[in-house]
Amino acid sequence: MENFFNIGLYQFLATSIILFSIGLFGAVISQNLLKILISLEIMFCAVTLNIVAFTVYSDNSHVKGFILALFILFLTAVHISIGAAIILNLYKFKASTDIQDVGELKG
Protein backbone atom coordinates (compact mmCIF):
# COMPACT_ATOMS: atom_id res chain seq x y z
CA MET A 1 0.00 0.00 0.00
CA GLU A 2 2.93 2.32 0.63
CA ASN A 3 4.06 1.84 -2.94
CA PHE A 4 0.61 2.90 -4.11
CA PHE A 5 0.96 6.26 -2.39
CA ASN A 6 4.58 6.71 -3.37
CA ILE A 7 4.29 8.74 -6.57
CA GLY A 8 7.42 8.68 -8.69
CA LEU A 9 8.61 8.82 -12.25
CA TYR A 10 6.86 5.64 -13.36
CA GLN A 11 3.39 6.90 -12.50
CA PHE A 12 3.89 10.01 -14.61
CA LEU A 13 5.34 7.94 -17.43
CA ALA A 14 2.38 5.56 -17.30
CA THR A 15 -0.05 8.48 -17.54
CA SER A 16 1.96 9.93 -20.39
CA ILE A 17 2.14 6.70 -22.39
CA ILE A 18 -1.59 6.02 -21.96
CA LEU A 19 -2.42 9.53 -23.17
CA PHE A 20 -0.01 9.20 -26.09
CA SER A 21 -1.53 5.85 -27.06
CA ILE A 22 -5.05 7.29 -26.98
CA GLY A 23 -3.90 10.22 -29.13
CA LEU A 24 -2.11 7.98 -31.61
CA PHE A 25 -5.08 5.64 -31.85
CA GLY A 26 -7.41 8.58 -32.43
CA ALA A 27 -5.14 10.10 -35.06
CA VAL A 28 -4.98 6.80 -36.94
CA ILE A 29 -8.65 5.82 -36.88
CA SER A 30 -10.41 9.21 -37.02
CA GLN A 31 -12.05 10.27 -40.24
CA ASN A 32 -12.69 13.83 -39.08
CA LEU A 33 -9.96 16.45 -39.43
CA LEU A 34 -11.02 18.14 -36.21
CA LYS A 35 -10.62 14.93 -34.24
CA ILE A 36 -7.22 14.35 -35.80
CA LEU A 37 -6.21 17.83 -34.60
CA ILE A 38 -7.48 16.99 -31.10
CA SER A 39 -5.57 13.69 -31.15
CA LEU A 40 -2.37 15.48 -32.13
CA GLU A 41 -2.87 17.89 -29.27
CA ILE A 42 -3.27 15.01 -26.81
CA MET A 43 -0.04 13.49 -28.14
CA PHE A 44 1.80 16.80 -27.77
CA CYS A 45 0.63 17.12 -24.18
CA ALA A 46 1.66 13.55 -23.37
CA VAL A 47 5.14 14.25 -24.73
CA THR A 48 5.37 17.46 -22.71
CA LEU A 49 4.35 15.63 -19.54
CA ASN A 50 6.98 12.98 -20.28
CA ILE A 51 9.72 15.60 -20.70
CA VAL A 52 8.75 17.47 -17.55
CA ALA A 53 8.63 14.25 -15.51
CA PHE A 54 12.08 13.21 -16.74
CA THR A 55 13.38 16.71 -15.99
CA VAL A 56 12.06 16.68 -12.44
CA TYR A 57 13.38 13.22 -11.61
CA SER A 58 16.73 13.34 -13.41
CA ASP A 59 17.93 16.94 -13.79
CA ASN A 60 18.98 19.13 -10.87
CA SER A 61 18.64 22.53 -12.49
CA HIS A 62 15.21 21.93 -14.15
CA VAL A 63 15.95 24.73 -16.60
CA LYS A 64 16.60 22.68 -19.73
CA GLY A 65 13.41 20.66 -19.42
CA PHE A 66 11.44 23.79 -18.62
CA ILE A 67 12.65 25.55 -21.75
CA LEU A 68 12.12 22.46 -23.92
CA ALA A 69 8.59 22.04 -22.56
CA LEU A 70 7.96 25.73 -23.17
CA PHE A 71 9.04 25.40 -26.81
CA ILE A 72 6.80 22.35 -27.23
CA LEU A 73 3.85 24.30 -25.82
CA PHE A 74 4.57 27.15 -28.25
CA LEU A 75 4.73 24.66 -31.13
CA THR A 76 1.41 23.23 -29.96
CA ALA A 77 -0.14 26.67 -30.20
CA VAL A 78 1.33 27.14 -33.68
CA HIS A 79 0.09 23.80 -34.96
CA ILE A 80 -3.38 24.36 -33.52
CA SER A 81 -3.72 27.77 -35.16
CA ILE A 82 -2.38 26.59 -38.53
CA GLY A 83 -4.46 23.42 -38.43
CA ALA A 84 -7.60 25.33 -37.51
CA ALA A 85 -7.09 27.78 -40.37
CA ILE A 86 -6.42 24.99 -42.88
CA ILE A 87 -9.47 23.02 -41.76
CA LEU A 88 -11.67 26.12 -41.98
CA ASN A 89 -10.38 26.86 -45.47
CA LEU A 90 -10.91 23.25 -46.54
CA TYR A 91 -14.44 23.41 -45.17
CA LYS A 92 -15.06 26.54 -47.16
CA PHE A 93 -13.77 24.86 -50.31
CA LYS A 94 -15.10 21.31 -49.83
CA ALA A 95 -18.01 21.85 -47.39
CA SER A 96 -16.82 18.86 -45.39
CA THR A 97 -14.28 17.98 -42.70
CA ASP A 98 -14.13 14.31 -43.62
CA ILE A 99 -10.64 13.11 -44.46
CA GLN A 100 -11.94 11.12 -47.42
CA ASP A 101 -13.06 14.33 -49.13
CA VAL A 102 -9.60 15.88 -49.14
CA GLY A 103 -7.92 13.01 -50.96
CA GLU A 104 -7.09 15.29 -53.88
CA LEU A 105 -4.27 16.77 -51.85
CA LYS A 106 -2.35 13.49 -52.11
CA GLY A 107 0.72 13.46 -54.33
Binding site: F5, I18, I22, F25, C45, I67, L73, F74
Partner: protein, 175 residues
Protein backbone atom coordinates in the same frame (compact mmCIF):
# COMPACT_ATOMS: atom_id res chain seq x y z
CA UNK B 1 4.24 13.43 -2.19
CA UNK B 2 1.83 12.76 0.62
CA UNK B 3 -1.18 10.49 0.59
CA UNK B 4 -3.63 13.26 -0.26
CA UNK B 5 -1.47 14.44 -3.10
CA UNK B 6 -1.11 10.88 -4.36
CA UNK B 7 -4.89 10.46 -4.36
CA UNK B 8 -5.28 13.80 -6.17
CA UNK B 9 -2.64 12.68 -8.69
CA UNK B 10 -4.44 9.41 -9.40
CA UNK B 11 -7.77 11.22 -9.64
CA UNK B 12 -6.48 13.88 -12.02
CA UNK B 13 -4.67 11.29 -14.15
CA UNK B 14 -7.74 9.10 -14.35
CA UNK B 15 -9.97 12.02 -15.27
CA UNK B 16 -7.47 13.14 -17.92
CA UNK B 17 -7.28 9.69 -19.47
CA UNK B 18 -11.05 9.18 -19.45
CA UNK B 19 -11.65 12.63 -20.93
CA UNK B 20 -9.02 12.00 -23.64
CA UNK B 21 -10.78 8.76 -24.49
CA UNK B 22 -14.18 10.42 -24.73
CA UNK B 23 -12.72 13.34 -26.66
CA UNK B 24 -11.65 10.91 -29.35
CA UNK B 25 -14.70 8.69 -29.38
CA UNK B 26 -17.60 11.06 -28.71
CA UNK B 27 -19.78 11.65 -31.73
CA UNK B 28 -20.75 15.25 -30.98
CA UNK B 29 -18.08 17.88 -31.44
CA UNK B 30 -19.19 19.96 -28.44
CA UNK B 31 -18.81 17.02 -26.06
CA UNK B 32 -15.48 16.26 -27.64
CA UNK B 33 -14.24 19.79 -27.03
CA UNK B 34 -15.41 19.89 -23.41
CA UNK B 35 -13.69 16.55 -22.81
CA UNK B 36 -10.42 17.68 -24.37
CA UNK B 37 -10.60 20.88 -22.32
CA UNK B 38 -10.89 18.91 -19.07
CA UNK B 39 -8.13 16.55 -20.21
CA UNK B 40 -5.67 19.33 -20.98
CA UNK B 41 -6.43 21.21 -17.78
CA UNK B 42 -5.80 17.95 -15.91
CA UNK B 43 -2.40 17.67 -17.59
CA UNK B 44 -1.68 21.27 -16.57
CA UNK B 45 -2.54 20.37 -12.97
CA UNK B 46 -0.03 17.53 -13.25
CA UNK B 47 2.57 20.18 -14.16
CA UNK B 48 1.67 21.94 -10.92
CA UNK B 49 2.03 18.64 -9.08
CA UNK B 50 5.52 18.29 -10.58
CA UNK B 51 6.55 21.59 -8.93
CA UNK B 52 6.36 23.52 -12.21
CA UNK B 53 3.69 26.15 -11.46
CA UNK B 54 4.92 28.62 -14.06
CA UNK B 55 4.84 25.98 -16.79
CA UNK B 56 1.41 24.87 -15.60
CA UNK B 57 0.09 28.42 -15.81
CA UNK B 58 1.54 28.88 -19.31
CA UNK B 59 0.12 25.50 -20.34
CA UNK B 60 -3.34 26.42 -19.09
CA UNK B 61 -3.16 29.71 -20.99
CA UNK B 62 -1.97 28.12 -24.24
CA UNK B 63 -4.43 25.26 -24.01
CA UNK B 64 -7.27 27.65 -23.34
CA UNK B 65 -6.29 29.84 -26.31
CA UNK B 66 -5.91 26.82 -28.58
CA UNK B 67 -9.11 25.27 -27.42
CA UNK B 68 -10.94 28.56 -27.83
CA UNK B 69 -9.73 28.50 -31.44
CA UNK B 70 -11.02 24.96 -31.89
CA UNK B 71 -14.25 25.94 -30.15
CA UNK B 72 -14.80 28.88 -32.47
CA UNK B 73 -13.89 26.74 -35.47
CA UNK B 74 -16.33 24.05 -34.45
CA UNK B 75 -19.01 26.63 -33.82
CA UNK B 76 -18.41 28.05 -37.28
CA UNK B 77 -18.44 24.62 -38.87
CA UNK B 78 -21.62 23.52 -37.12
CA UNK B 79 -23.41 26.82 -37.63
CA UNK B 80 -26.79 26.57 -39.28
CA UNK B 81 -28.34 29.52 -41.01
CA UNK B 82 -31.80 29.10 -39.54
CA UNK B 83 -30.62 28.51 -35.96
CA UNK B 84 -28.42 31.51 -35.38
CA UNK B 85 -30.15 32.55 -32.16
CA UNK B 86 -29.97 29.15 -30.46
CA UNK B 87 -26.40 28.77 -31.65
CA UNK B 88 -25.43 32.04 -29.94
CA UNK B 89 -27.11 30.95 -26.71
CA UNK B 90 -25.29 27.62 -26.61
CA UNK B 91 -22.04 29.37 -27.45
CA UNK B 92 -22.44 31.68 -24.44
CA UNK B 93 -23.13 28.66 -22.23
CA UNK B 94 -20.00 26.96 -23.51
CA UNK B 95 -17.88 30.04 -22.84
CA UNK B 96 -19.33 30.36 -19.34
CA UNK B 97 -18.57 26.74 -18.52
CA UNK B 98 -15.11 27.20 -20.02
CA UNK B 99 -14.44 30.16 -17.70
CA UNK B 100 -15.70 28.26 -14.66
CA UNK B 101 -13.46 25.28 -15.44
CA UNK B 102 -10.53 27.64 -15.92
CA UNK B 103 -11.03 29.27 -12.50
CA UNK B 104 -11.61 25.91 -10.80
CA UNK B 105 -8.44 24.45 -12.30
CA UNK B 106 -6.42 27.37 -10.94
CA UNK B 107 -7.96 26.88 -7.49
CA UNK B 108 -7.17 23.13 -7.53
CA UNK B 109 -3.65 23.82 -8.71
CA UNK B 110 -2.99 26.32 -5.95
CA UNK B 111 -4.50 23.89 -3.45
CA UNK B 112 -2.02 21.25 -4.59
CA UNK B 113 0.79 23.77 -4.46
CA UNK B 114 0.04 24.98 -0.93
CA UNK B 115 -0.53 21.39 0.17
CA UNK B 116 2.97 20.61 -1.04
CA UNK B 117 4.34 23.63 0.82
CA UNK B 118 2.77 22.81 4.18
CA UNK B 119 2.90 19.03 4.02
CA UNK B 120 5.68 18.57 6.57
CA UNK B 121 5.04 21.77 8.43
CA UNK B 122 7.91 23.61 6.77
CA UNK B 123 8.33 25.26 3.44
CA UNK B 124 9.91 22.87 0.96
CA UNK B 125 13.10 24.12 -0.64
CA UNK B 126 11.79 24.64 -4.17
CA UNK B 127 14.03 24.20 -7.19
CA UNK B 128 11.72 26.07 -9.53
CA UNK B 129 13.74 28.13 -12.00
CA UNK B 130 13.13 31.82 -11.48
CA UNK B 131 12.03 34.19 -14.25
CA UNK B 132 15.46 35.83 -14.23
CA UNK B 133 17.26 32.51 -14.62
CA UNK B 134 14.89 31.49 -17.40
CA UNK B 135 15.34 34.75 -19.27
CA UNK B 136 19.13 34.51 -18.99
CA UNK B 137 19.07 30.95 -20.27
CA UNK B 138 16.69 31.80 -23.11
CA UNK B 139 18.57 34.83 -24.36
CA UNK B 140 22.11 33.48 -23.93
CA UNK B 141 22.29 29.70 -24.04
CA UNK B 142 19.09 29.09 -26.00
CA UNK B 143 19.13 32.25 -28.09
CA UNK B 144 18.96 30.61 -31.50
CA UNK B 145 16.03 28.25 -30.72
CA UNK B 146 14.25 31.23 -29.18
CA UNK B 147 14.74 33.27 -32.35
CA UNK B 148 13.68 30.36 -34.58
CA UNK B 149 10.57 29.83 -32.47
CA UNK B 150 9.76 33.51 -32.88
CA UNK B 151 10.21 33.23 -36.64
CA UNK B 152 7.96 30.18 -36.64
CA UNK B 153 5.34 32.17 -34.77
CA UNK B 154 5.64 34.97 -37.31
CA UNK B 155 5.24 32.54 -40.21
CA UNK B 156 2.24 30.96 -38.50
CA UNK B 157 0.63 34.35 -37.91
CA UNK B 158 1.14 35.38 -41.54
CA UNK B 159 -0.15 32.02 -42.81
CA UNK B 160 -3.23 32.09 -40.63
CA UNK B 161 -4.03 35.68 -41.58
CA UNK B 162 -3.64 34.85 -45.30
CA UNK B 163 -5.86 31.78 -44.99
CA UNK B 164 -8.50 33.66 -43.04
CA UNK B 165 -8.46 36.58 -45.47
CA UNK B 166 -9.12 34.07 -48.28
CA UNK B 167 -12.12 32.83 -46.34
CA UNK B 168 -13.42 36.35 -45.79
CA UNK B 169 -13.06 37.16 -49.48
CA UNK B 170 -15.02 33.99 -50.37
CA UNK B 171 -12.01 32.43 -52.04
CA UNK B 172 -10.89 28.85 -51.73
CA UNK B 173 -7.39 27.50 -51.57
CA UNK B 174 -7.17 26.72 -55.27
CA UNK B 175 -8.69 29.97 -56.47
Amino acid sequence: MGNIEAIVFYLVSLVSIICAFFAIFSTKSKFSIVNILVCLIGISILFFALEFPLLGSIAIGIFCIGLTLILIMTALLTEKRNQVRSYKLSYIKLLTSFTIIFILSFLIAFFIKFGAFYYEGTVINCVIPSIKELSVQMFINYGMPFVFTGLLFLAALIGVSVLMSDIRNNKGINK
